[in-house]
Symmetry: C2
């Protein structure tokens, strides 16, 4: 059976246009069936603008409500049972879909995932992961990228297991190496939580020890584990630093005629680099630790990012990664 994708067509800054186009692109490219969940009239309108789509693969499910990006997650989930996100989560729960893709409110998707679909047995806290580009060309999977701002050592161990299974089974990375984000490379460094996580991870074959933030983007370690506070700071610092450098280069290039010529010649190179650094390009971020696959796309996702999210979701659903985590996490360490 080919995985069926439910799409929260009202989630994200560009909804329903981007989710609808992205879903149609995914249906065409992957041959998978996609169900658009949201305001039927608006989705039909967006579909009408597509100029033809595979009708046997693309279906529509009406859900009039919308959970906005700024809403308090749990309250919104309770109040808005008819929202696109809640209806799509229920489809996943009831087996009407095999994977859910959403660019909507992250906190609501996470809380809704736990409340509706449920945690995987043995996982205390589901995590968000993000794939970042690395200097060596491969990628780096960061777990947790922001779901759990107060994590205990056992949570970090679970993140490591979930991350390494996902990296190996879904992303196809081989070998998988797991590092603990820390303030120094030597054992014994770091805060209490991280030190305890280190001693629990020590026996695992894929664990290579601590990694400093400076070295993460090198890509020597392909799964990097941290709590969600630190993971969020890491991701946003990468964004902020890249933004500052591009801004400064622009200013430098506006200075002096020779530089201006150089800048013009370099524009395509800059554009390629910016694209490479834009981790939303890599498609969705899997929520790891739920009993079914849920993919979070960036709120600003365009059609291509949504299609990438669907592709990742389909691979996630087919990979058997969730069962593999279930088995590994049950094994006492």
């Amino acid at each position: 059976m080919y995985p069926r994708v439910a799409i929260d067509a009202m989630g994200g800054d560009n909804a329903p246009g981007a989710p609808v186009s992205g879903a149609v692109m995914a249906a065409k490219a992957l041959g998978s069936s996609v169900c658009l969940v949201g305001d039927e009239e608006r989705m039909r309108e967006a579909l009408g603008r597509m100029g033809g789509y595979p009708k046997e693969l693309v279906t529509v499910r009406h859900a009039p409500g919308v959970i906005d990006a700024g809403e308090q997650p749990v309250g919104a989930l309770r109040r808005k049972k008819d929202s696109s996100m809640v209806v799509a989560l229920n489809m996943l729960k009831q087996g009407e879909a095999d994977v859910l893709v959403s660019a909507g409110n992250t906190g609501a998707l996470l809380a809704g995932g736990v409340m509706t679909v449920g945690r995987l047995k043995g996982v205390d806290r589901p995590a968000i992961s993000a794939v970042l580009p690395s200097r060596k060309g491969g990628g780096v999977l960061l777990v947790d990228a922001g779901a759990n701002v107060d994590a205990r050592p056992e949570h970090l161990v679970q993140f490591a297991i979930m991350g390494s299974v996902y990296a190996g089974r879904v992303l196809g990375w081989n070998p998988v190496s797991v590092g603990l984000l820390n303030v120094g490379a030597e054992e014994g460094k770091g805060c209490e939580t991280v030190k305890q996580a280190y001693s629990r991870l020590k026996g695992r074959s894929e664990f290579v020890g601590n990694i400093e933030a400076r070295d993460v983007l090198d890509g020597d370690v392909n799964v990097v584990v941290c709590d969600g506070f630190v993971g969020h700071v890491f991701l946003k610092t990468v964004e902020g630093t890249a933004g500052m450098i591009f801004h400064s280069l622009k200013a430098e290039l506006a200075d002096g005629a020779l530089s201006k010529v150089g800048g013009l010649l370099l524009k395509p190179a800059f554009r390629r680099l910016k694209k490479r650094l834009d981790y939303s390009e890599y498609g969705g971020a899997p929520l790891l630790g739920l009993s079914k696959p849920v993919i979070k796309c960036h709120g600003s996702s365009g059609p291509a990012a949504i299609m990438n999210g669907c592709r990742v979701g389909v691979e996630f659903a087919r990979s058997g990664a969730i069962n593999a985590v279930l088995q590994e996490i049950r094994t006492p360490d």
Copy 2:
């Protein structure tokens, strides 16, 4: 009285050459007296290569031992009473110097500072701070940059007070605004420690609320408070991201003849930008919360960075910042 500087002449990767040259440069530029502390023979040798220096300002104190960068701080401090760092710390304690500048082992300098010079009354944990360049051209002071990996809410409040006094009195920034590094801008975001720190900082006039990592380098907030784990991750992520971008740009520039020409034209612009991002250029990082001024220079400091450290140290000593912190921190909030 003009502050007298003690220099740990054996600290750092380029010792004693860089500390000796940097100290002589500082004596010439600032007119302050500097005492070089370390292996006398090697310091005299380095001085001999200087081709003249103001002998009335530059003195030498023999201390044969050296604490290395990799040594365990407390053990090294106990064992090596004759080391340049311990002797210099004692000079500061006994009033033979007014400020200490060192590019040596950070942990040892911090622990030695607490053990020898002592904490400021009301400060539980001294912090390291770092000045970063900002997009707007001013700077951003990050406290704590790595001293306290497990900080409690009251420590973050103390970092905020020490940072704002330092920014105002020593760096001369006006107005000073303090932000709490967090995963979102709204009140109520973050881990327990940060939430509690927020509610304690709320009443302070210079406190502007949470700041996300992405916005730190913009410079809208000039003092950014976090625990040492997060501060270290922030700093090293800035370094790692900048390194990756420069590496990728280089690779892009090697691609195609037009890009190569562009790259050559841009070399000076790149060099200027790299220099601007190199926060060690900004001179030393003050250890805040000790009862006397201690400045930590980057381990890889050259003469210019050491001279900057001396300049910052002299300003720190003259500013009255330590007394101002003492008074502010005693005031119940």
